[in-house]
């Protein structure tokens, strides 16, 4: 009898364990690497790439990016633009709820917007929506609980793309309870698929699935579509050291690395423990010149430097064969990257020497700034130094820490440097990133009044063909001036443990943990 009971209990326990197994599988926490601690959870305020990536799991804006970096409605159900291009009418989705269960209405959109445009908030994108640079929003109203109307001073092709920008925090809408009574930021209460559970400084940020998440349905793409969380918690672990992160991925101490080194791709792809997913990204790694430098102000010397480089081979070495050479500021995945943009001039040492002789260059040293913070920037400097030497160009490398390099970049205080730009998702923005009046913005490398006029024009027109023609013209102009040598737009490579399903890398590059789950039975 006793024996029988025992058997029964054992069987019952085994059954319980089995069912518990399936029920709790997704209770496991998914662990994702971030390479540095986040700065804050306040969208678009005191931020960096890691902060953006995590905040955008918790808050959503009116619009968001798709996988191809085009813009689609997110909290909005529809966006209507008036004929004159000055009025944007957003209809909110029905049944939207914040993570605390409260409904989201147009009043919340207005409240969030008012905090964004308050200069005291120090929102990253303030000047982009209330200034002359991109758009100037003159009025925002809420005619009813599910409608918000934005009025702009002038029409622009970039208004929605600006609202969606990751560094603007996606202009995410949050509930009043995100702030304390004094209006100080506490933590985001948003509509995203996750909510903040615990932030341990220097260690990790843990998010829990948002039980009140309302899915709009549709394909999961970029920051839009069905973003239903499939794991109960995600822990973003701060692991600054690349080698340690790699070891942790192999050992199973973490599940996802969203930004793998080019050098590790082959090894990761060969491992049966891991899955690799890669996609061309929209950044830019380039060699910059100060066109006001006493030596480099001579376009012939800049051109000679370009001709002395074997750029395809350089790019092959710098990216371990992961990215093609791209001599345009427009990134490879952009629909505007055509034949003209993809052309790569051939190396020509003789021609380079001829140009140098014409310019009267006699081996004066060119100070080249680089940093080891991004190893590829340092390596690019070393390769440039060696290749340019063959044409008789004398480069001296000065290695700085990232903050110092950025300081010299911002002040325009350099002769030449290797530099990397963050992603720009529209060609107008790509050109804007390098062009400007050096007296007003010393960080810009290309100061060509005609070019600036064309760039400005490209932001106001919506027609693809017209824009392409403008960008082609700009391409020819910037290539004649050689204020910089673009090298490649890069590749975003993600790696996950073999039992992680649904993780997808995309050109914007930030990890997205909704829709991602652990495979059953593994």
């Amino acid at each position: 009898m006793k024996y029988h009971n025992l058997l029964k209990t054992a069987a019952a326990m085994a059954l319980m364990a089995a069912t518990a197994g399936t029920a709790t599988a997704q209770d496991k926490t998914m662990r994702v690497r971030i390479n540095a601690d986040i700065r804050s959870t306040d969208p678009g305020v005191n931020r960096d790439a890691n902060s953006d990536a995590i905040v955008l799991h918790m808050v959503e804006g009116l619009v968001g990016y798709r996988d191809d970096a085009s813009v689609a409605p997110l909290l909005a159900k529809s966006v209507d633009v008036s004929a004159d291009g000055k009025t944007y009418t957003f209809k909110l989705r029905d049944g939207l709820k914040f993570s605390d269960g409260e409904p989201l209405t147009s009043a919340d959109v207005l409240a969030s917007w008012q905090r964004y445009v308050d200069p005291k908030t120090a929102w990253r994108c303030l000047k982009d929506v209330t200034g002359s640079s991109v758009a100037n929003v003159t009025n925002v109203t809420a005619p009813d609980a599910s409608t918000v109307v934005f009025t702009l001073e002038k029409p622009t092709a970039l208004f929605l793309a600006t609202l969606a920008r990751t560094d603007c925090g996606g202009t995410g809408i949050y509930q009043k309870s995100s702030l304390d009574a004094q209006g100080k930021w506490v933590k985001p209460v948003g509509t995203g698929p996750f909510m903040l559970q615990e932030w341990r400084s220097g260690q990790y940020v843990q998010l829990a699935a948002n039980p009140n998440y309302v899915s709009p349905g549709g394909e999961r793409t970029g920051y839009v579509g069905d973003k239903t969380p499939k794991v109960s918690a995600v822990r973003f672990m701060v692991i600054p050291d690349d080698a340690a992160a790699k070891a942790a991925l192999y050992s199973g101490d973490i599940d996802v690395v969203s930004d793998v080194n080019n050098a590790d791709v082959e090894e990761f792809s060969a491992s049966n423990k891991l899955k690799v997913d890669k996609v061309a990204s929209m950044g830019l790694t380039a060699l910059l010149f100060q066109t006001r430098d006493p030596l480099l102000k001579d376009v012939r010397i800049r051109k000679a430097l370009l001709l002395s480089l074997d750029i395809p081979q350089m790019t092959e070495a710098l990216t371990n064969g992961q990215s093609p050479a791209n001599l345009s500021v427009i990134p490879v995945p952009s629909p505007y990257s055509g034949k003209l943009q993809k052309a790569v001039p051939a190396r020509n040492i003789e021609e380079a020497k001829k140009l140098l002789a014409e310019a009267g260059y006699k081996g004066q040293p060119i100070k080249w700034l680089a940093t080891k913070f991004y190893p590829s920037l340092f390596d690019a400097a070393v390769l440039t130094q060696a290749m340019a030497q063959e044409a008789g160009i004398n480069i001296e490398i000065e290695t700085l820490d990232w903050a110092t390099l950025l300081d010299r970049y911002t002040a325009g205080n350099y002769s030449a440097m290797s530099f990397t730009y963050s992603a720009r998702l529209d060609p107008s923005l790509s050109f804007d990133m390098v062009s400007g009046n050096k007296d007003k913005s010393p960080n810009k490398v290309w100061d060509n009044p005609e070019g600036l006029k064309l760039i400005n024009e490209s932001t106001t027109i919506g027609d693809d063909k017209q824009r392409q023609a403008l960008f082609d013209k700009l391409e020819g102009m910037i290539r004649t001036d050689v204020p910089l040598i673009p090298l490649y737009s890069g590749t975003r490579i993600g790696a996950v443990r073999a039992n992680v399903e649904g993780y997808k890398t995309w050109p914007v590059g930030y990890p997205r943990m909704w829709g991602v789950s652990f495979a059953q039975g593994k």
């Binding site: 990253r124 400084s201 600054p240 903050a403 110092t404 950025l406 913005s441």
Partner: protein, 317 residues
């Protein structure tokens, strides 16, 4: 006893100028390094107006000497300010991270001393025979391995290949003591191995010195066993320079184990400081340096106070 407390009081009083010099050096050195937090926050597309606004928001637009006096005034009232990076209280951040670093440094140096003292003593006693050569060679080897290499190799072997220990992460001792140990074994062992080399060599050198003095000869002549000669006469006298070295090592390590804390992903004070330097997080850099300086001074005060225990001759003065 009265003399001793007077001595301690006097020593503590003399630490004040040291700390003041550190404070001044820190403040002006950090601000002399180019780059500022506003640029790092705004990144590659910052416009001059945005930079100026953010700098004003962070209080970085005021003259540096004024900023210094303001900061010093706050510190004297116990307010170390808030981190520019994440707004956390600098004092709390430091105390939190200090526990992690202090545990690792103390345990590692204690273990290193326990190994180095006998090893150095034996090497000195058997000077120039094969035991000595082996000990010298081993300690030399340990001194020539950079900590980031040793750490990474141990991590790959014990964490990845053998899978005995976790590769990343940290759990405070107060939460799960046993799990916590598994996270700190590798960093402690790495640090211990690095320090054993230096301490062994120091111990060996001073022991050789003492072994040559007359009173050791006398002791031997009196017919004391070698064991007694070593333990009673050589060890106490030879330990003094090693003890100074331990003081130097202990004090210097707090700021110096940043590399190890990075390899092993530990939330320690060293990493906090180095990250803050690179992020130009001025309040954290200033706070941390002042804090480590204070710790350093206290450690060395304790070291000095302990001298009479090892070197009877110093008591006289």
């Amino acid at each position: 006893m009265h003399a001793l407390s007077k001595y301690v009081a006097k020593r503590l009083l003399w630490t004040l100028p040291t700390l003041l010099i550190v404070a001044v050096m820190v403040f002006f050195l950090v601000r002399m390094i180019p780059g500022d937090p506003a640029q790092l926050i705004l990144g590659d597309s910052a416009s001059p107006e945005e930079l100026a606004n953010l700098r004003a928001n962070l209080g970085l637009d005021k003259p540096v000497p004024l900023q210094f006096l303001y900061w010093l005034g706050n510190v004297l009232r116990g307010d170390f300010g808030h981190s520019i990076s994440n707004g956390a209280s600098v004092l709390l951040l430091m105390l939190d991270r200090f526990q992690v670093s202090a545990t690792i440094v103390l345990v590692a140096v204690a273990l290193a001393t326990l190994i180095a003292v006998p090893a150095g003593l034996i090497a000195a006693w058997r000077q120039n025979d094969h035991v000595d050569v082996a000990i010298v060679a081993a300690s030399t080897l340990l001194m020539s391995v950079p900590s980031f290499w040793l750490g990474l190799v141990l991590l790959l072997v014990f964490g990845l290949k053998l899978g005995w220990l976790p590769v990343v992460g940290y759990v405070p001792f107060t939460e799960k003591p046993w799990t916590a140990i598994t996270y700190v074994i590798l960093p402690v062992v790495t640090l211990m191995l690095i320090e054993v080399g230096v301490l062994t060599r120091m111990m060996r050198a001073s022991a050789i010195e003492i072994l040559r003095l007359e009173y050791v000869m006398h002791a031997r002549a009196k017919g004391l066993s070698e064991r007694k000669v070593l333990l009673r006469h050589v060890l106490p006298n030879a330990f003094a320079p090693t003890w100074t070295m331990i003081g130097l090592v202990l004090g210097g390590l707090l700021g110096g184990i940043a590399v190890l804390e990075t390899v092993f992903t530990l939330p320690g004070l060293g990493r906090l400081l180095v990250d803050a330097i690179f992020a130009r997080d001025y309040p954290v850099v200033q706070g941390c340096l002042l804090f480590t300086a204070l710790i350093y001074v206290i450690v060395n005060l304790i070291v000095d106070l302990c001298y009479p225990l090892f070197d009877p001759r110093v008591t006289a003065s």
